[in-house]
Amino acid sequence: MPDNWSYVFSAYGLAAVVLVGYWRRLAGRAKSLAGRGERKGP
């Protein structure tokens, strides 16, 4: 069977996009919540 590297890289690339996208979403949400907390003050 041919190696089909394009399928392999598509699968890994898609997984990387999903995981990095979620990580960025979490980081953005944490940052906005921290900013809100700072504006509120003690």
Partner: protein
């Protein structure tokens, strides 16, 4: 600080996993290099099982104690669980095209995995639809408990029904039919995905706590 260390550990484990999948593990004799998708596909589904088992645990814990921490655990596990199930379905579909000749077939394993994905997408949608915290947590907990019944159905579907999908490589009856270095590469990637999940879980639980306090 601990979450940051966990994140870096997960990154290192992912790099080791990629090294194992593309360097250490040999080219499979029948399928060729396309079989390397297994080192992504199998750890992704095993991590999804773990995530949904924690949703179950958090849901039971909330219904028994009514403590918000259990609900936060269930929510924080459900989101990455859906992501890992999505990765499982997409990578399986991409792997299926060159090996089975089709992107999708209504095989028992594929269908039950799609149902699992939709149940937990529904779980997250339900959480977004109910405003009152206790009502939301109770309704979500019921779905989280019922949804977990699908995990053994997904895993054992290849044993219970005639399926195009191959038998379970891990957690199946008998030893996995593959050489030691393939098992090692799979184990390293499984560990890496578990660490990524643990990092996401920790961060998401902290965000959920801050959201409740805001």
């Amino acid at each position: 600080m601990a979450a940051r260390a966990l994140g870096w550990l997960a990154v290192l484990a992912l790099i080791a996993g990629l090294g194992a999948a593309f360097g250490y593990a040999p080219r499979e004799a029948v399928q060729g290099n396309v079989q390397r998708i297994m080192y992504l596909h199998v750890p992704a589904v095993l991590t999804a099982y773990l995530a949904f088992a924690l949703v179950f645990l958090g849901s039971v814990g909330y219904l028994l104690s009514r403590r918000a921490g259990w609900d936060r655990l269930a929510l924080a596990a459900a989101e990455p669980g859906v992501l890992f199930t999505g990765i499982t379905i997409a990578s399986g579909s991409i792997w299926g095209k060159p090996t089975w000749g089709t992107w999708w077939t209504w095989d028992a394993r594929l269908t039950s995995t799609a149902v699992l994905f939709l149940v937990y997408v529904g779980y997250l949608l339900l959480r977004g639809m109910v405003d009152e915290p206790d009502r939301r947590a109770r309704a979500a907990a019921v779905v989280g408990i019922l949804g977990a019944a699908n995990i053994p159905i997904v895993h054992f579907s290849v044993t219970w029904w005639r399926a195009l999908h191959q038998p379970a490589a891990i957690l199946g009856p008998g030893s996995a039919p593959m050489p030691l270095w393939m098992k090692m590469a799979l184990a390293i990637n499984w560990l890496a995905f578990t660490l990524v999940f643990a990092y996401f879980l920790t961060r998401r639980m902290e965000i959920a706590r801050l959201e409740q306090e805001a």
